[in-house]
């Protein structure tokens, strides 16, 4: 083969890659949405660098789980909800969809809380900002010119990169950082275990799996093209988690050392002060807004799609309202109810953001078990079914989440008992 031939082949390959890349990277950068930033900030500011080992572990977990979802999409050409219904019947589907709805409702609430927090930093009342945001998000279903808006929001959410820059400015003790990243530590305290769960739940999300698989089906990725998608998913998940780790490092190096435990967006914004000085507030609020609006517009819609797909209800935004009552009802309900929760008088925004992620983690194993059974189905997946390594890692991850959940209940029970 001549040099020219190999260059041409390399270019062709790059074109194929660019055409297929996307879903993985996007799903992963959505890790650092409002609840994500809140959770990592709380973890870093309250417990220092001790969460870094967990981020390393869940990076592996996320890669394995996302890869599985992507492979199922490429092999079967069907969405996750579709596969669950066809393989497990109505009862299991109902359970799985209830879990998905609950988890995604919680996360949507967290996004609106992020919008509220970001706007309040700019001095705008949440009672003005949240209803407008909800209306904008809701209108997306009837408009089609939102792809440009979406790109703009995606650009805004790139702000999480500033944590990386900031971490290098602050110069944390890198030896401690490295040490904590490889040596697991653990504390039997309710707050610690909750933060642990939230960190898992904001990284490996039920909606992430569902959305990723749906976009891969929608892109029409075939099993032959799948290796490019796998590259996309693996790099995306790794990239997203590197940034998460830097958020923890940055908040630990700026806030934890001064004994500031983040409880509000204002405090969380301080982590960026070494980079942006007095502008940290604005940088943080704009970034939070972009990430939250982006996720708030994807989440309710993809949830509604999945539920309607599972139960065979008319769906799709070209159906007029009368033709798809469940679709419109569910979508409207999700958006409006999520916004309403944030508007309840006296609701603290930051806890709303990160506690919803702990709920995510508690519900995740239900979907993980179903995904694992599907991905191992010889009839469905043929030669593309799970390998042993993937199975061991995924089951290990499921077991870990269940274990942490059990510990959470045990610890909080014993602490309540001790208080009596």
């Amino acid at each position: 083969m001549t040099l020219r031939d190999s260059i041409r082949r390399a270019i062709q390959r790059a074109i194929v890659y660019l055409a297929i890349i996307g879903p993985g990277l996007i799903t992963a950068s959505a890790d650092n949405d409002a609840p994500g930033i809140a959770t990592y900030s709380i973890a870093g500011s309250t417990y220092g660098y001790t969460f870094l080992w967990l981020i390393l572990v869940i990076t592996v977990g996320e890669v394995v789980v996302q890869e599985m979802a992507a492979r199922m999409g490429a092999t079967t050409g069907k969405g996750l909800a579709d596969l669950i219904r066809e393989r497990f019947g109505v009862r299991v589907t109902t359970l799985a969809m209830l879990c998905l709805l609950l988890a995604n409702f919680g996360t949507t609430v967290a996004q609106f809380a992020g919008i509220a927090a970001g706007m309040e930093l700019l001095g705008i009342s949440r009672y003005l900002a949240v209803p407008i945001a909800a209306l904008l998000v809701w209108l997306l279903v009837t408009r089609e010119s939102y792809s440009r808006v979406e790109k703009f929001l995606l650009f805004l959410s790139l702000f999480s990169l500033s944590y990386v820059v900031c971490a290098f400015i602050v110069r944390p003790p890198w030896d401690v950082v490295l040490h904590q990243a490889v040596v697991p530590s653990f504390r039997f305290e309710t707050g610690y275990v909750l933060a642990l769960l939230a960190t898992v739940g904001t990284t490996v999300t039920p909606w992430g799996c569902v959305y990723l698989q749906a976009s891969i089906v929608d892109k029409g990725v075939t099993p032959q093209q799948y290796r490019y998608t796998r590259l996309d998913v693996v790099t995306g998940a790794t990239f997203g988690n590197v940034i998460s780790a830097f958020i923890v490092i940055c908040t630990a190096a700026t806030l934890f050392v001064h004994g500031t435990h983040v409880e509000t967006a204002e405090q969380a914004a301080l982590a960026l002060a070494p980079l942006a000085g007095p502008g940290a507030k604005y940088l943080f609020s704009v970034g939070l807004l972009g990430a939250s609006l982006l996720a708030a517009s994807v989440l309710p819609l993809s949830t509604t799609y999945a539920v309607c797909e599972a139960f065979g209800w008319e769906r799709g935004i070209d159906n007029r309202r009368q033709e798809a009552p469940v679709f419109y009802g569910l979508y409207t309900g999700l958006v409006m109810l999520s916004a309403a929760v944030v508007l309840l008088p006296g609701v603290p925004l930051f806890p709303l953001m990160w506690l919803s992620q702990a709920l995510n983690a508690v519900l995740l194993p239900v979907l993980l078990v179903l995904m694992l059974r599907l991905a191992n189905d010889r009839h469905l997946m043929g030669e593309y079914r799970n390998r042993r390594v993937g199975n061991v890692l995924a089951w290990g991850m499921t077991g870990l989440i269940v274990l942490i959940t059990v510990i959470l209940f045990a610890v909080s029970l014993s602490q309540t008992g001790a208080n009596l």
């Binding site: 069907k78 969405g79 109505v90 792809s147």
Partner: protein, 420 residues
Amino acid sequence: MPPIFLSEIQKKPVWDTEGERVGRCVDVLVSDVGASFPRIRALALRDGDDTPRFVVAEQVGWLRPSILLTTERASLSPYEPQGDELWLARQVLDRQIVDVDGRRVVRVNDLQLARVGEHLCLVGADVGTMGLLRRLGMERPARTLFSALRAQSPEAIIPWEDVAPLQAEDPVRLRVSRERIGKLHPADIAAIVSDLNRRTGQALIEALDDETLADTLEESPSDLQVAVLNHLEPERAADVLEEMGPDEAADLLADLPEQTIRRLLELMEEEDAAGVRRLLAYPEDSAGGIMTTEFACVPEGLTAGQALDYLRQSEDAQEDEALYYVYVTEASGRLKGALSLRDLVMCEPDTPLADVTETDLVTVDLHTPQLDVAHLVARYDLLAVPVVDEEGMLHGIVTVDDAIDAFIPTAWKKRLPRFF
């Protein structure tokens, strides 16, 4: 015997005449899927972990309240699956089907069985909410609730003759589906295809005959067009392109790589290919890009009767999608005027054409933007507008449907909206 639902006999024990348990009913095998009432051939039973054993339908006495056989266990006649049966639980239940009467894709919540004459038959598919509730074991409380509220219970059962089962991997069933779905309007077929998961939709669309396939593609969004065309054998793709209007074919080809376009144009018949080639030269959103080159056109100097005779012989007039207007040209090809087909038919056969021809025409340039064409068509209430160059040569016409695509795209947006 009132109808029985599959969910009522699934997993129920099967008893012989001696009152001995033969096994559990796990599936129902049906033959002759194309019939209005396909006959049940056998029940599949399982006892422990054994491979299933079969009981022929003739030896089944009752299905409700329990499944009773008409012989004792020892004298059951053996049954071997022939390979052409439909396994109701495994292949139809919980899957998507097309409701041919309602022209939509639905999911099968349950299947209705009944005795028709001597035989047990499959009579319908339950796609309603009541079917879902029955599967969840909540049919009776739900019925009580609905009757207490005096509301109609949400039932929707489709007779089997209106059902097109969709299984891409099975040629027999695909033939049944093709016969039933092929009769629908192409726009409905396109809507159904975009409701299905991509692979099934593609298999369905490719099973149609060339002409229906061409019409359906014209109504489909461009990404589906490209996917289908890429999947077809080049020879078949060329045949399908010939069946499409040259304007639609050119639009589709414009989305393909240069090499593929050349290859397909070579495979097409010269006459069709030439028309498409001419259109490909203009931008997609200009009058030249959306015009069709197949229109009714007569030379000047004829009488009305001669003109009608001329049109009957003219191949371009035969291919004219709608034939609203007849255009009159000079020998050089310059546009002289036009008249409506109505005027041509209604006047005396010996009237000179020049007497009924309108010469003061609204025309557009080859490079007029599509939006401007749409505005002209709307302002002057035209059904088509001729496209001419600087010398007044007639190149084609833009029909009203193609012009208003600028305002209302025909593409169906049923899939998960693309955000990125």
